[in-house]
């Protein structure tokens, strides 16, 4: 613990040398503890980055940040960035002059950069929130290597099968009962018969289709095999992995012709415009349904991806944990930490919900009885799973997921018959990675 404090203030001191004493103030603020921190924050400026989310994202950020200003007297300057760009240039942004606090992702993406000293250690903040955060969320936010948290967990969402109830009714099926693989195939077949897209997928960026791969692999080979595969303990050339791609290939005839031309927002639009039967996606896009109209939002539904192998049932789900991180190189690290803590606190959550956030918060303080039916269903979907995956690009190392698996899935969609060659290449690229 004392080592933590030391390393923080040492970093602050170093920064102080660079920016002329500013860091010294931050350092002493930290030492003085939280009560003093609030008074010291007054009049300072904290910079905040919203990662995507459009108008709704800005609205939520404004509500939470304004409440923070009201409470502490610190000014918050917010900006919204394109989520993919921010993600792809993250190391560069963090080494330049980053905003103090920002929405970020748990798993490899925060642990890795935290261990490299680009994200601030949030041990103190997470301890203050301990009363409201479930142990699983704290564990999910803590690096297994350094044992330190570099993110304050706030929301999570299921990657699951989404569809519109009205469309399922129209093809003569019961929207409350899409449970089995056969139901799923029937839903896609009947939708396609109407001249629509049976299963919509985007893979322009490469990552969007990872959700489909994750769930198929977990359903067919189980959670352990999937995580082993992503960490080099199982082989991509294994018959088990090939089996997963056999199922993936079964879905291709139901897909839109322009998989490689659209990204997640194209998938969202397909469902919003009633052009597709089902899609595998993270529920975060529901905010945009709500922004369009309450009617669209009420029509949206989500169920667990159906069982394939009875051995595993539906015991696994991709449920990425999101949260707030603080840049170690920010101008106002103390302010960033205070703002991050506010976002993850019951007060901050209340503000976000009021401003139209439909996300599920991990905080225990959060009252789920007021949930609308879609959010209740999201909880049920999450609850149906025993094993939580974080999504391929957070469960596997960054120099493998994006640069290797992404293009491999794209090549597979371009030419499914090449799968053996593609998987051999993925395996040999894994083998060629520098060992950490």
């Amino acid at each position: 613990m004392s080592e933590d404090t030391n390393s923080v203030s040492r970093r602050s001191l170093l920064k102080g040398a660079a920016v002329g004493g500013l860091g010294l103030v931050a350092g002493s603020t930290l030492a003085a503890g939280s009560a003093d921190a609030a008074t010291r924050l007054k009049g300072s400026t904290v910079r905040w980055t919203t990662r995507g989310g459009g108008a709704t994202g800005d609205k939520i950020a404004k509500a939470v940040n304004d409440a923070f200003t009201k409470k502490t007297g610190a000014k918050v300057v917010a900006q919204q960035v394109n989520s993919d760009d921010f993600q792809n240039n993250f190391a560069q942004i963090m080494q330049g002059s980053p905003d103090d606090a920002f929405g970020w992702m748990a798993g490899y993406r925060s642990n890795h950069f935290g261990e490299l000293g680009l994200l601030a250690d949030l041990t103190r903040e997470i301890n203050r929130l301990k009363g409201t955060l479930p142990t699983a969320a704290i564990k999910g936010a803590t690096s297994p290597v350094s044992k330190k948290p570099y993110i304050l967990p706030t929301t999570y969402y299921p990657w699951a099968l989404h569809y519109r109830k009205s469309m399922v009714k129209e093809i003569g099926m019961n929207p409350e009962k899409i449970d089995t693989w056969d139901d799923f195939i029937k839903l896609m077949t009947l939708t396609q018969k109407k001249g629509l897209v049976g299963y919509s997928l985007g893979a322009k960026g490469g990552w969007e289709a990872m959700g489909t791969f994750d769930i198929l692999n977990a359903r067919i080979n189980g959670y352990k095999y999937h995580i082993d595969l992503l960490n080099g303990r199982a082989k991509w050339t294994d018959a088990k992995t090939k089996e997963t791609f056999k199922y993936f290939a079964q879905l291709i005839p139901f897909m839109n012709e322009n998989v490689l031309d659209i990204s997640w927002d194209g998938m969202r639009d397909l469902l919003l415009q009633k052009k597709t039967g089902a899609m595998m996606m993270g529920s975060w896009f529901a905010n945009d349904f709500k922004a369009k109209s309450q009617e669209d939002y009420d029509d949206l539904w989500v169920v667990p991806f159906p069982e394939i192998n009875p051995k595993w049932g539906i015991d696994t789900i991709d449920a990425p944990l999101d949260g707030i991180s603080v840049a170690a190189n920010g101008k106002n690290v103390a302010g960033g930490k205070a703002l991050a803590q506010f976002w993850a606190s019951p007060e901050g959550i209340t503000e976000a919900i009021k401003a139209g956030d439909t996300n599920i918060y991990v905080s225990r303080s959060f009252d789920t009885s007021s949930y609308d039916s879609f959010n209740k269903q999201k909880l049920a979907v999450l609850g149906s799973a025993k094993n939580i995956m974080f999504f391929l690009d957070r469960d596997a190392r960054g120099d493998f997921a994006g640069p290797v698996v992404g293009p491999a899935i794209q090549s597979f969609i371009k030419k499914p018959s090449d799968i053996n060659k593609i998987l051999e290449s993925v395996q040999s690229q894994w083998d060629a990675l520098p060992k950490n």
Partner: protein, 303 residues
């Protein structure tokens, strides 16, 4: 025991006044210094970096890797060969189609065909736009849900795959890139053509030379300096292609180009050393043909 020639040289150098010498050294020295500092030093560092393992964050993590990065790229990176192919096709298309078209247009405009001012401005228009802007415009038109797809009555669900279709995306991208390149070459060539003495052409015409003969035997040789610039520009434009494709795709995986791979590895993925290795490969690919070409040209000139 100096020869007359060297003696002359030293004498003429001495005739420079103090101010002259100062101005000269300032004008040569400062750019040289900047060149070394901003170009050669980073280039050298990049070359060194390409032989290490480094994630680009903490200098203390750097480790020697020998030629491992190059081995990985050459033997274990399917994207590299796709990028090489795409850059190669790009170069071939520019050399065989876009650049000759630009020259042809310049020649026609210079001859003063009917409405040449109109054509000139039409072809020149895309040149004022940066390739990034051109990418935004064409992406907006051709992507699913875009303007052109909308005109064809296609919504996102049944929009034609253009950027994601490996059979056509190369040609669409090259078409879009040529849209600008042709105008650029036309402009360069036109400015050269204006400086060709019309009397030469008239004289040749009176002697009974055909249009093609005039172009080959008179215009091309007198335009030698401009030709060199155009060849070098075409080479560099094709090999350094980046912005247009980056704007359209955002990532290098569907339509890889060498420069996209340099960027992707440097930014974000924690593979700076591989980005550096790509950059060195690109540097060699750019420099070798250009130096070879220039040497041939200058040798001919000396003759």
């Amino acid at each position: 025991m100096k020869t007359a020639a060297t003696g002359k040289k030293t004498r003429s150098r001495r005739t420079l006044s103090k101010t002259d010498r100062f101005t000269l050294s300032a004008f040569v020295g400062i750019p040289t210094l900047l060149q070394i500092l901003l170009l050669w030093v980073p280039a050298l560092v990049t070359i060194i970096l390409s032989f290490t393992y480094w994630n680009g964050i903490r200098l203390s993590d750097i480790r020697w890797a020998g030629i491992q990065n190059y081995k990985t790229i050459f033997f274990n990176e399917p994207l590299f060969y796709e990028a090489l192919k795409n850059n190669g096709v790009w170069l071939a298309f520019f050399i065989l189609v876009a650049t000759p078209l630009g020259i042809l247009l310049a020649y026609q405009v210079d001859r003063g065909i009917k409405g040449h001012a109109f054509y000139e401005s039409i072809f020149y228009l895309p040149v004022v736009l940066s390739l990034a802007v051109i990418g935004i415009i064409w992406n907006f038109m051709l992507q699913p849900g875009g303007f052109v797809q909308g005109l064809m009555g296609l919504d996102i669900g049944n929009a034609i795959s253009i950027w994601g279709n490996p059979d056509i995306n190369t040609w669409v991208i090259l078409g879009v890139a040529s849209w600008r390149h042709i105008g650029y070459i036309m402009l360069l060539y036109l400015s050269g053509l204006k400086s060709v003495d019309p009397a030469l052409k008239e004289a040749a015409a009176i002697d009974g030379a055909t249009e093609w003969q005039i172009f080959r035997k008179i215009i091309l040789p007198t335009m030698q300096p401009v030709n060199i610039i155009i060849v070098v520009i075409t080479l560099i434009e094709s090999l350094r292609a980046f912005d247009l494709v980056y704007i359209i795709y955002g990532s290098p995986t569907i339509f890889p180009l060498l420069n996209l791979l340099v960027f992707q590895n440097f930014a974000g993925q924690g593979l700076s050393m591989k980005g550096a290795a790509y950059a060195v490969i690109l540097l060699v690919l750019c420099i070798v043909p250009i130096i070879t070409y220039l040497r041939i040209v200058f040798k001919e000139d000396l003759k």
